[in-house]
Each structure stands twice: as structure tokens, then as C-alpha cells.
């Protein structure tokens, strides 16, 4: 009885600390500097939520010890699918960037990601991944599929959005066939700043407005809004007249 009470007390304290930690964080508007969000040009897209991770490294914790016991292996395996492109580790500390929540709700989802807060640079500081236990662990899924679901949600947490190509990890439906592709990795390199856009970015140009043209980066295929380079009143890159 005493042990049960202690266990309950621990659970309540943990829940309180986590809830306190994850509430009240301010969500601020942010984006990759002058990079057009929500645009998929070659197999990857930006997240539709605020900001992006901005670095390779982050960490996560669980909402309870049962969630840890049930899902920690899937978390490790899902993260491993991204290879060395991210570095994400478990911590028992409530200060972790990511909180993994298990839900028993009736849902048609396997998992979902919510960005809780971003800093003034548009870099994500808190996020939650909710795993819908009935579907995630159900007979329809298998270990490979579950690992892929976690990799998909990690992609969201870092700043990637859903795409329509069913072979890519960021495809929006559960599948045992999708995997981390070159395109997914390019997206990840952008949202972790391992690949940056600047005035020297080259690629395919298209006119946008008087201030900028769009350039589809020849490396990552992301779209970047770049200043015009006027020479004799004509932009040397997109051809727009001044």
C-alpha cells in the first residue's frame, strides 16, 4: 500500500513538473530567414508550424514511466533512421525539448506533433509528440512501421512537413514502405542549418516581386527568396527589369 502511494505520489509530481514546464511557453512567429515555407519542390517540405530546430542536437523525455517502458525502443530506432543527420538523446529531465505523450484516445492517427514554443530566432524550444497507443501498437502495424512513424514525427519536430510521395519518410500516412530518402535528408540539413541559403545560393530562378526573386537551390531544392542583382536595370539572375 505504502509503495503504491509512493508510486502514485511520484506520478503526480512528475505530471505536475512536466505540465508546468510545458505550459505558458510563448509561441512566436518564425521562419527560416527569407526561405519560403510550405513549398515542396522535390520531395520535401517545410513544417506548417512555427519555426524549425536550427541545430542537429535536441533531447526528449516521456510523460510517465509506462510511456518510457513502452515506447523508448521505438524512439531510439526511429531517431536512428535519420542517421548522423540528427543527434537526439533521452533525458529524464523535464527541461527536455521534446515530451513524448501516450494517448489512449479514439483516433484515426498513429501520432502527431505539436510545436509548443520557439525562440526569437525562430528555433524550436519545446515540442510534444503524441503517440496514439491503440493504433500505434495495434495489429495493423509492425515494428518497422512503428519506427518509421517515430522518424516521421521527429521530422515534424525538427521542421519538416508532410509530402505526397509515399516512398519518403515524411509521407502523411502510416506505411511500412516509406523510408528516409535523400530528399528527406536535404530537408533535414536545411532545418538544422547544416545547409544554409544565402546571397550566393545558385539554382533555378523565377521572378517574385520588386525586391526578390525565388531561387530553387541546386543542392537541397528548397526555395530561397534572394535579392535581385541589377545590372543596367536588369536582374542578372531572373531577368526582371528594375
Amino acid at each position: 500500500m505504502i509503495r503504491k502511494m509512493k508510486s502514485r505520489l511520484f506520478g503526480w509530481v512528475l505530471a505536475f513538473v512536466l505540465c508546468f514546464s510545458f505550459s505558458g511557453s510563448k509561441v512566436e512567429a518564425a521562419s527560416l530567414a527569407r526561405t519560403s515555407a510550405n513549398t515542396s519542390v522535390s520531395g520535401w517540405a517545410y513544417s506548417t508550424q512555427s519555426g524549425h530546430m536550427g541545430v542537429k542536437t535536441s533531447n526528449y523525455t516521456f510523460d510517465s514511466s509506462t510511456t518510457y517502458n513502452t515506447y523508448s525502443t521505438y524512439l531510439s530506432n526511429g531517431i536512428a533512421l535519420w542517421g548522423t543527420n540528427i543527434s537526439m538523446g533521452y533525458t529524464s529531465q523535464s527541461t527536455a525539448k521534446g515530451l513524448i505523450i501516450a494517448s489512449d484516445a479514439a483516433s484515426d492517427a498513429t501520432a502527431s506533433t505539436l510545436v509548443v514554443s520557439v525562440d526569437s530566432n525562430g528555433h524550436r524550444t519545446k515540442f510534444t509528440i503524441t503517440i496514439y497507443s491503440v493504433n500505434f501498437l495495434g495489429s495493423y502495424t509492425n515494428v518497422n512501421g512503428r519506427n518509421r512513424t517515430i522518424a516521421h514525427e521527429i521530422g515534424h519536430a525538427y521542421g519538416l512537413g508532410d509530402i505526397s510521395q509515399s516512398s519518403n519518410i515524411m509521407y502523411g500516412s502510416y506505411s511500412t514502405l516509406k523510408q528516409v530518402t535523400t530528399q528527406d535528408i536535404w530537408g533535414m540539413k536545411v532545418v538544422t542549418h547544416q545547409h544554409n541559403h544565402s546571397s550566393s545560393t545558385t539554382g533555378t530562378y523565377s521572378q517574385l516581386n520588386a525586391s526578390y526573386h525565388n531561387v530553387v537551390c541546386s543542392s537541397c531544392y528548397g526555395i530561397y527568396k534572394q535579392d535581385h542583382s541589377y545590372v543596367n536595370g536588369i536582374c542578372s539572375k531572373c531577368g526582371r527589369a528594375q
Binding site: 506520478g11 512528475l14 513544417s47 508550424q49 510517465s64 489512449d104 484516445a105 505539436l114 493504433n135
Partner: protein, 237 residues
């Protein structure tokens, strides 16, 4: 001698206090169980407490991985497929305790079934003027591609009985039916609207599985009622 007596009395006191404390805690435990039972039905599911909450002014957008629609079997997983008019919509919070206390947010719709397109053989007769339907979307969790269900509008809903859901939570304390299929615009059928490509594919896959001979192939843009009727014509109650 006096010292021994005092020590003995002290030991007896401690033992008695421990027994009394244990009894009080057991009684407290039984009381808590009794309270929970008044909330739960007779199922073995986890009891829930449901309360109404005020929707947030700006919906919280999430990014979601959905089960594919063909996860469902149109003839065994749905108990009621009907054209439903939305009479009322209430954002609710479901609270339950499993190691820690968790909260789930969703919307409880009150709908008036206008036309029943399919009712499974083992489902309850729909004799009520209105039904309550759980929709997992709310202002606190609005998937990016989620479609808004509006009061006064009519939709074709694919519904599963609350008692039949795989969720370990006691949804029968929340609603009559649960709205199924991914919560995206592609699977939300507004009465009179055209079918999406995804929904047409879903219906065709279901017809193929059931080996329906008189089924008219669904195509994108086709009227939703016509396509759904073709799948369920002559099936169910």
C-alpha cells in the same frame, strides 16, 4: 521495570496506529473506486470524466500521421453511415487516469440523422432524433489539413459505435458514435459535394474487397451520396 512498560506500550501503540492507518487508507481506496464507478458504465474500460471547455480563439495546428483509410473495412468497422445534419457542437475534455491523469480534447457533435445509408446488422436501431458523435478534432488539436465541421451543414458520416471502439477508454460515457476515417478534407463528405480522389479510391477498394458485382465505380467529382449509396445498396439492415 517502568522503562520496559513504557517501551512495550509504545510498541503496541505504534502497531495499532499502523493498523488504523492501513484501514483508513483501504477505506479511502474503496471510496475512490465507488466514485469512479458512478462515472463509468459496466464495461471493463477505463472510466472517464467529461467536461465542456471553451474553444480557443485560434486553433492549435498539429502535424499528424494518419492511418491509411483502407485500414477500415466498410462493412465490419462502421456501424452507421448516414447523412447527418449538425445540430450542435461542443468542445469537451476527457480526463482519465492511467499512471498519471491525462486529458484528451475533442468535439462532441449533436447530429440529426437525415438519411441512413448503411446500418450494420449488429448495431442498435437508430430511433433517436439526435445522436452524439465524437470528433477527435478540436480547437486544441486541429491537424494541418483538418476540415472544419460546421453547424447547420449536412455531411455523410462513417460512424463506429462508441462501445465497439478499440480505445481502452469508456467512450460510451462520452458519445453514441465515433467519427471514423482520417480527419482531412479528402474524407469529409459534405452532402451534395463531389468526391475527392482519395474518397473515390477508398470506396472502390472497399467494393473490390467485398466483391460487389453491381457496384458502380466511384470517380473523383461524382456526387458523394450516389457513390456511397452504390457501395452500400442492399447491404446492412
Amino acid at each position: 521495570m517502568k522503562k520496559k512498560v513504557i517501551i512495550s506500550v509504545g510498541v503496541v501503540f505504534v502497531i495499532c496506529a499502523a493498523f488504523i492507518l492501513q484501514g483508513v487508507m483501504e477505506k479511502h481506496g474503496k471510496l475512490a473506486d465507488a466514485v469512479k464507478k458512478t462515472i463509468s458504465s459496466e464495461t471493463n474500460k477505463i472510466p472517464v470524466v467529461v467536461h465542456s471547455v471553451t474553444p480557443l480563439a485560434a486553433p492549435v495546428r498539429t502535424e499528424t500521421e494518419w492511418l491509411p483509410a483502407d485500414f477500415y473495412d466498410a462493412f465490419t468497422d462502421f456501424d452507421l453511415v448516414a447523412v447527418c445534419r449538425i445540430v450542435d457542437s461542443e468542445e469537451v475534455c476527457i480526463e482519465y487516469t492511467k499512471e498519471i491523469t491525462r486529458k484528451e480534447y475533442g468535439t462532441r457533435l449533436t447530429v440529426q440523422p437525415e438519411e441512413i445509408l448503411y446500418q450494420s446488422a449488429h448495431s442498435k436501431e437508430v430511433d433517436a432524433d439526435s445522436l452524439s458523435v465524437w470528433n477527435e478534432m478540436s480547437s486544441r488539436r486541429m491537424p494541418e489539413e483538418g476540415a472544419l465541421i460546421q453547424k447547420g451543414e449536412e455531411y455523410i458520416f462513417f460512424l463506429q459505435s462508441a462501445e465497439k471502439t478499440d480505445s481502452p477508454l469508456d467512450y460510451s460515457a462520452v458519445c453514441d458514435y465515433i467519427l471514423r476515417l482520417p480527419k482531412t478534407g479528402a474524407y469529409l463528405l459534405k452532402k451534395g459535394a463531389g468526391l475527392s480522389e482519395e474518397m473515390a479510391e477508398f470506396l472502390n477498394v472497399q467494393a473490390g474487397r467485398a466483391e460487389l458485382s453491381d457496384y458502380q465505380e466511384a470517380k473523383a467529382g461524382m456526387t458523394a451520396e450516389k457513390a456511397v449509396n452504390s457501395l452500400y445498396e442492399g447491404k446492412g439492415k
